[in-house]
């Protein structure tokens, strides 16, 4: 869907800005300069205002992400379910290091609690959530979703 089409689905009221940006993120993968300019024009807001919102939230990116991002929950309850062992396993399988940018293709990051602690450990790949991930099952997930 083009940006224009997304914009026209919403009334240009300030309380719709976040929803618009989220939708652009979903369709476009990131919210770049062009997209910010489009939204700024539509909402009659300064470009800087739109950019400041777009750059604030976890679920939106202002740059194109070339790496696959794998996130693992580091909240207390997930730790208790051994999420760090799952992280070690991912590091081994993909030959990457947690929170280290060096590898070109993948990046393994820690994430904040997703509120799914009763179904932990939680792993997230590109906003898709995997529950009750075990060191023994994580290679299946990586094989299917990377």
């Amino acid at each position: 869907m083009s940006i224009q089409k997304i914009l026209l689905k919403f009334e240009p009221k300030p309380e719709n800005l976040l929803g618009v940006l989220k939708e652009i993120q979903k369709e476009n993968g990131y919210i770049g300069k062009k997209e910010c300019e489009g939204a700024a024009g539509y909402f009659s807001l300064p470009l800087a205002r739109v950019y400041s919102t777009a750059s604030f939230f976890d679920q939106m990116k202002t740059k194109k992400e070339s790496k696959k991002i794998i996130k693992i929950c580091s909240g207390g309850p997930c730790l208790g379910e051994k999420s760090m062992e799952v992280a070690r396993q991912i590091e081994m399988l993909l030959k990457i290091e947690l929170e280290n940018d060096a590898r070109a293709k993948y990046k393994l990051e820690l994430m904040s609690c997703a509120g799914l602690c009763d179904r932990g450990p939680i792993v997230m790949i590109d906003n898709q959530i995997f529950e009750k991930v075990k060191p023994e099952t994580v290679d299946d997930i990586l094989a299917n979703y990377l």
Partner: protein, 449 residues
Amino acid sequence: MNILTRSWDKINPLDIGSYIRQRGYEALQKAIREMVPADVIKEIKISGLRGRGGAGFSTGEKWEMAAGQNSRSDLERARGATSNGKYFICNLDESEPGTYKDRTIAEKNPHQIIEGLLIGAYAIGAKKAYIYINGNYKKQAEILRIAVGQAREKEFLGRGILGSAIDIEVEIFEGAGAYICGEETALINSIEGKRGEPRLKPPFPPVSGLFGRPTIVNNAETLANIPYILRQGAKKYSQIGSSVSPGTKLFILSGAVKNKGAHEAPLGITPQELIFNSLYGGGLETGKEFWFAQIGGASGRLVPAGKLDQPLTYGNCEYPLGSGSVLVVDKNADLKDLLLSWAGFFHRESCGKCVPCREGTYRLWEIAKRLKNNDLPLTNCNNASERDININKNHKEGQLVRGEREKDRENIEDILWTLSRTTFCPLGKFASVAWNDAIKMFGKKIFDK
């Protein structure tokens, strides 16, 4: 004593009929047909209900503040208020680690929250209400959307509620992943399409909130208590639980405890009972030994075994109960993992508006990583000298270099002091709480490798 979880097993969240059969929306009808807004507020004040979002402010008093606000003031005009309306917001942003009570209510009985929200909006005279839901809770947002649609068909919301002249619109607003947006003024900013940074208070939201207008923000669990209070009477409610904060609470148990999950219990209960009573936690998992508990998520204090008998209330407690989640940590847990988990969380979630929190959480996180990896601090941050590298090498080879670790230890003290006293909003203080306790309780274990 069940108030919140009462009849959950009989309710189909996707069918408003099943809620109505359990006396659902009776309280809303009573409020609109038999009570003026001031009566509703009086009733809530008598009940003694206190906010379940963490701070425990009296709900009735808060509503009264907003109800008393009327015409547009100069301040509001200056802040860009364009309407004369008021707003009521249900805070379902819930992102405190280990907390999923509001999510559970939304999943099991969404109408309980919506009914409370409508009664609140009626009481303060708001025509527009929002449910601000955590961006990760997609399924729950859908459930709420369906529930709002069904309530509209039954004329419980929308224009001319139950044949009266009262209009209340309800909108589901989905967040985009930011813990700080649970803070009410940050939440308000993010609805306005701005960065989710907290605002200076005062003015408080009941005076000047969303679009500069009087706004009430209440936690979802707070609102879920409202229908019961109006139906059964405030007197009855005020006798449940503890006298400083009546009612029950949804506690979330996780970690090394046997029965993990959501448990409803009267306020005033002790952590001891919650963790060990078979009605609730049922003790520790087999083979595990209690070390300490953390009450209230990552921002909560650590409670050692000897202190488990302090009642959990919203009064003045040594161990504030916050969001009401209880993480049970057993003796095999890796404390350095936990330290890194707390520091990492607040480093990621700091909004960056004020320096002490932005920098403090960052430095604490760096130190936590060093502790975890058994690295030593570099004497010169920009330019690691050969000596530093050698020290690290020697250390890794098993020779402990005395004194070097001390630098981190001193820095931690400085950082924690600053975080707990100088930050713009409470998030900075939250970031220091568990670390402070951990250093006091287990300092030796942390630093003497």
